[in-house]
């Protein structure tokens, strides 16, 4: 009898414990994009769930534009479908100002937020408050083929000017053997050719808008930037460049068809990867070019970051997940599994001080220099009313940037002149900015 009662009590206690465990179980839905680093994080989730047995993680991986569309709808309607979002430096300031994101204060002590690269954490903060934690960051730089440069008898300066780039492109081009001096983005889109052209225009001293939000495509600086871009691409670029984006140029470079490629620093780990690149051991790096006498290297800065939407019902658990995924411990976890080369770059100072990382990643120093040099609060040497480096951080920019990108892509395809493309961009942008209420 006694034993039966004891057994019954034991069973009741077990059931109660199970009940509590079930009640505490939290499922986090993490929305992300299909980039190599994100997929790696997905594979390492078990490390987080082992440390937090009461939390399970569900992943939703979507194409970048679909993700942006889905998340925007969900936040605008207070849907609460997601607990952690993967967004970039473009969205963070805009969404934070709309109070769509939860401020990331109260992160654990060992998180060491001061270790985050200052340029990156500044781009993800509004009024000094961090609204998203960087998962990996990037700027832009020149990647070039050392063997072709040597054969052509040129030495690439560590900080080249656009004139140096043109001379190098001319010397390296060998169209008979399908080697093109320079590969640049031409595919229309605010995040495609306009990311590059906005950075290039910055380095020419141009700006998108003056202090009254009047578009500046009729300026001398924009004209010089676009004319030089078209000149470079027409004479030394690959055929059909107007449909080349990041992925297409990556493929061309990996196949050994580009002498130089100026693009996101994150590409450095792909082009030096012996498994996928035929030119892995023949690549070196230089800073994003500037116009002679202009102290501006484009100010390109992007960081895929993790943020919590205000509509999430599980903000505490979400914060724990973000603290895990963007911690120093996570970087060490990746290094222990896949080597230091695979560690997510561009977020923490400590990574760049690590001698193991420095020796395994030949691009580390140049990447850090590029990120540190980027000033997203003032991307042009002229006065500007906006923030953002290779983009303008206003909600209208996606539409306007893509429309302007289409004009410039058409100019690259030879369908119109640089002057026509610039005046079409000026008219189009003026109309949209007036409609949106910026120009009174």
């Amino acid at each position: 009898m006694n034993r039966t009662i004891r057994a019954l009590m034991g069973a009741t206690a077990l059931c109660a414990t199970a009940g509590i465990a079930a009640a505490q179980d939290t499922t986090l839905t993490v929305a992300t994009v299909n980039n190599g680093d994100m997929i790696r994080m997905q594979g390492l989730t078990s490390d987080f769930t082992e440390k937090h047995p009461d939390i399970t993680v569900e992943w939703v991986t979507l194409e970048e534009n679909i993700l942006r569309e889905r998340v925007t709808t969900d936040i605008a309607t207070q849907g609460g479908q997601y607990d952690v979002l993967t967004i970039g430096t473009y969205e963070v300031p805009i969404w934070a100002k709309q109070q769509w994101l939860v401020p990331l204060d109260g992160l654990p002590d060992d998180y060491d937020a001061d270790d985050l690269l200052p340029a990156v954490s500044e781009a993800l903060s509004v009024d000094g408050t961090l609204y998203a934690a960087p998962f990996y960051g990037e700027s832009a730089m020149v990647m070039y083929r050392t063997d072709l440069a040597e054969a052509a008898g040129i030495t690439m300066p560590e900080s080249p000017t656009w004139a140096d780039i043109k001379a190098a492109a001319e010397a390296m081009t060998d169209k008979d053997n399908e080697v093109y001096g320079i590969c640049l983005r031409g595919k229309p889109g605010w995040g495609e050719n306009m990311a590059f052209l906005t950075a290039m225009a910055n380095s020419y001293g141009a700006r998108w808008f003056d202090m009254d939000w009047k578009p500046q495509f009729d300026s001398q600086e924009w004209n010089a930037a676009l004319t030089d871009y078209l000149d470079l691409m027409t004479n030394y670029g690959p055929p059909g460049a107007s449909s080349n984006g990041f992925n297409e140029n990556l493929s061309l470079f990996q196949q050994g068809k580009c002498g130089m490629w100026i693009d996101a620093t994150v590409a450095a780990s792909f082009v030096t990867d012996p498994e996928n690149s035929t030119v892995a051991d023949k690549v070196s790096f230089a800073q994003f070019p500037n116009k002679e006498g202009m102290d501006n290297h484009g100010n390109w800065l992007w960081a895929w970051s993790l943020a919590i939407p205000a509509s999430s019902q599980k903000q505490d658990a979400a914060k724990q997940f973000i603290a895990w995924a963007t911690s120093k411990g996570y970087t060490e976890l990746v290094a222990s599994k896949d080597g230091w080369r695979a560690a997510p770059p561009g977020t923490r100072t400590s990574l760049y001080e690590n001698p193991d990382y420095q020796s395994e990643a030949p691009f580390a120093a140049m990447t850090l220099q590029a990120i540190n040099a980027a000033n997203t609060q003032k991307s042009s040497v002229q006065d500007i009313p906006y923030t953002g480096g290779q983009f303008v951080a206003i909600p209208e920019f996606q539409g306007i940037g893509t429309a302007v990108g289409q004009q410039f892509s058409a100019a690259l395809a030879g369908q119109m002149s640089a002057e026509d493309a610039l005046s079409a961009a000026q008219a189009n942008t003026t109309r949209e900015m007036t409609r949106a209420g910026y120009i009174k």
């Binding site: 839905t29 929305a31 994009v33 299909n34 980039n35 190599g36 997929i39 997905q42 594979g43 569900e58 992943w59 939703v60 991986t61 979507l62 194409e63 970048e64 679909i66 569309e69 889905r70 709808t73 605008a76 309607t77 849907g79 479908q81 997601y82 995040g191 990041f246 992925n247 990556l250 493929s251 990996q254 196949q255 996101a264 994150v266 590409a267 792909f270 498994e275 996928n276």
Partner: protein, 274 residues
């Protein structure tokens, strides 16, 4: 001589038909070929001979379990089709056999609902789904896809029903058949080829739908359209993996289409040659 010419022209037409079919099928074929390459081969340029590497399939399966979205696709496509038929058969019957002055206008109105871009009603539908708890559920997707394809289903059935002589239904009625008997035992068996092809076409449309199925799901009810979308990448090359994911997503519907092509063609040309 005449016989020879006709044979030559027959061969000519056959070759032309095969050529056209090959051109249409080629993108799918090349997707399958690319899925059997390594990533390095996939980016290396045009090549029709793969190295038969199955590593992409393995990676895709490890990264995203295929069977959950697959089952969701099956339930959503079949469920929405059956529901659409239940609604559309009586509607098409009424329009075909008891037309009124306004029948043509109603048919045109129904078709006109297809002309509005889906994104225009995204926010209201999103809100309705949120408030009613239909978000990220198979039931919600079955309902929305049924509503989306209903105009086409009614139009197709209406066209088939019009081919059936009304006298046969009248005869059944004189023999004492009720409305239910008439639809279930007389009309439906006679219209089987038409219903079958409508059903197949609707399953294909629902299977391939990639707007609502992505917008209204997150994890639980996400079908194969969301599965493919997760393999598209802005940075980094995943062509072989993307091709493997696409092949896995289209394989079931391709096999279904292959086995039912006779019914499909018969149904689609039903009445056209009379």
């Amino acid at each position: 001589m005449a016989r020879a010419i006709s044979r030559n022209s027959k061969i000519g037409w056959t070759v032309a038909a095969w050529l056209v079919a090959l051109i249409i099928f080629f993108p799918i074929l090349y997707t399958i070929i690319t899925s059997l390459k390594t990533e390095q081969e996939a980016i290396a340029g045009f090549d029709l001979i793969p190295s038969f590497s199955f590593s992409s399939y393995e990676t895709v399966q490890n990264q995203n379990n295929y069977f959950r979205p697959f089952m969701n696709s099956v339930v959503i496509a079949v469920g929405s089709t059956l529901l659409a038929l239940i609604v559309a058969i009586p509607a098409a019957w009424a329009m075909a056999f008891s037309p009124t002055k306004r029948t043509k206008d109603i048919l045109m109105w129904m078709l006109s609902t297809k002309m509005m871009p889906a994104v225009a009603v995204l926010v209201p539908i999103y809100l309705i789904f949120l408030r009613t708890g239909l978000m990220d559920t198979r039931t919600g997707l079955v309902i929305i896809l049924m509503l989306m394809n209903l105009p086409i289903v009614i139009w197709m059935l209406y066209t088939y029903f019009r081919e059936i002589p009304g006298e046969i239904l009248e005869a059944a009625r004189m023999d004492g058949a009720t409305l239910r008997d008439e639809i279930l035992y007389i009309l439906t068996p006679m219209a089987v080829p038409g219903i079958a092809s409508t059903m197949l076409l609707n399953i294909i449309l629902a299977w391939n739908e990639a707007f609502w199925t992505i917008q209204l799901t997150t994890t639980n009810a996400a079908p194969l359209s969301a599965f493919i979308a997760s393999f598209s990448s802005p940075q980094g090359l995943f062509w072989a993996k993307l091709s493997a994911a696409s092949t896995m997503a289209i394989a079931p519907i391709l096999i279904l289409g292959w086995f039912s092509q006779k019914q499909l063609v018969r149904g689609l040309t039903f009445g056209a040659v009379k």
